[in-house]
């Protein structure tokens, strides 16, 4: 199949990770919110982890896609 699953996984975690980092920055210092996560701004830190994972999936897949353009598309349905 012509779909490299690393691409949607990569995009999704990059997006979700970015969102969490952003939300973490916006809510930084909100003691009420972060009491649950033992007073750590876990949105920010875990968002960074997700972001890194997303990029780790995405970048090699995108680099590989650019190289052999012609052989990437096998004829559909065998």
């Amino acid at each position: 199949m012509g779909l490299d699953i690393r691409i949607p996984i990569g995009w999704m975690f990059t997006a979700v990770g970015g969102l969490l980092v952003l939300y973490g920055i916006l809510t930084n210092g909100n003691a009420e919110l972060y009491r649950r996560s033992l007073n750590i701004n876990f949105n920010f830190w875990w968002g960074l982890v997700l972001l890194a994972f997303g990029l780790l999936m995405l970048i090699p897949a995108l680099l590989k896609k650019e190289e052999p353009q012609s052989s990437q598309q096998p004829p559909p349905g065998q």
Partner: protein, 650 residues
Amino acid sequence: MEVIKLAWVDYLIILAYTIFVVGIGFALRKYMKSSAAFLLAGRSIPAWVTGLAFMAANLGALEVIGMAANGAKYGMLACHFYWVGAIPAMVFLAVFMMPFYYGSKARSVPEYLKMRFDERVRCLNSITFGVMTMLTSGISMHVLADLLRQLLGWNYNACLWLTSAIVLLYVFKGGLTSAIYTEVLQFFMIVLGFAPIVFLCLKDINGWAALKDTLAQVAQNPQVVNVGSQPFPTNAWTSCWATTGHPANNPMGIDWFGVLFGLGFVLAFGYWCTNFLVVQRALAAKDMYAARMTPIIAAVPKMIFPLLVILPGMVAVALAFKCADYDIPKKPLEGRAMQKVLAALNEMVEKQVPPTEAFEYISKEAGMAMSQEKVTALIREHAAHPLPENELRARLQAAITENDYNNVMLSMLKRYLPNGLLGLGLTALLASFMSGMAGNVTAFNTIWTYDIYQAYIAKNKSDEHYLWMGRMITVIGVLISIACAYIAKQYGNIMDLVQLVFGFVNAPLFATFLLGMFWARATGDGAFYGLLGGTLTSALFHGLTLSQNNAPGIKGAWLAKLFGSTPVHVFQSEMAQNFWLACFAFTVCFLLTVVISLFTKRTKTEEELRGLVYSLTPRITDHGRPWYARPATAGAVLLIICLILNIIFW
């Protein structure tokens, strides 16, 4: 359980996930040109993808919700479902069985049975499997919808239909390929979504050593948090084997033989080696090598999964024991049960029944354990001057002491995750249910289309027709699952019920496969009657035995009840009953198949059995691959690590 509020960021995360899974289905739509592409993924997927999908398809409701529940209920003993009940069987599947499944070009497990034995065995297997898949799927959907309702206050029916609609959409569009690809995405979602809970709860309890200390106190006083009535040895919650000498010494109520033979051999091999739900993922691999590596790759994350799903359950028990601000969630008293209890309460007050008697009657009507102190206080106050119904309801709910273990994971999610991560955790939960359901639906549609529809109902139709049928049955399968979800609404502990179903259907099945693959003399008659006999043995065993604290009926001994006699044997726990049921069913199926085979004529020639039976199939050699990339050596390494884990947590 009080309802929690989501913020915009939580909804955005759930939305992003939904867009991506549905998007994968739409991206793959253009490849779905034949029934083989739709139902078998065209045998074109790399090993790491099928491996993670293999893992994720099994990661349904049972894993995340059920295993956290087991972690709370049984502690480290729940690890047996991984280190005894999964890894050895997965390695066996990869090394010994995959060459036959993949090499025979069978499109499904029942089709392999037809090639090896005959039409009858296939028919029996495909029908029982079909029923089982739909039941499992329904159970997991029910659990999801019910939890979302309790946690978020969402509507039960809306949750059920909406999540099903999303699964239906991407499976309908992209078939098995789409199910497999989304399962990989879901796998990462589940791991990364639940990991923060593990980190935070372990930090909260001050690490593993402190957890062990607290759990030792729990084991000594289990009645404090309602996880048992008698004291256990101090290591009951924190060791895998040390307390399995006698069933009364551990909270699972099992002995080492039941674990080793019942779970580790019969149930595990029956599940991992013959269940088309997981085998189908390996059959979609691009070549024989990728197919054999699929279970091996899946076994790596499987081995460390207890950390993600069992540990939070164990921490929950420790927290409930130690902290004033946390308690294991209690069973909800609602709907008809609440009406019954309210009526009972009013009746008792009216008739001025003595407190102890009144309490017994009320808790019997509720069908669960209640606090005597709270109920009698309530009766006294209500008799003195009638309380408003709202207050009665709240106080009756507060008097329930019966733990709702299925809610443990969500209570941890609620306790530790702030908005943002909360959305991520919920998405992980949704992902686990969707991957399980998509797995069931794709296995069901293939079995139906190839093993039932094409085999018995409409032979020799065009491939377009079967593709059309595959799509139609996908829709119907989802609808049947929804119906099963409503059925499942009536039953209590999900894991036990599913174990029971596995026991009935899967336990004897492995005997059939074992003999079929390794003994050329096994005949179709032997396999068919052996399997039938094994399944009947399951039913008979279940009908005659019972487990402690259960009334005869759905939990067993229904046959004994029918004839008005007492159960033949009463086990310490349902788990023990299930393990022993599996042992009996397997043994009967094995012996019957051997005996009948010896007395009946072979119908398949040696030539026909080539590629289907071990002794008649050329060995696959892996020369030229490094040792770690050979299924056999990689499998051996996994088994050794598994053994080490068992010893560390002995």
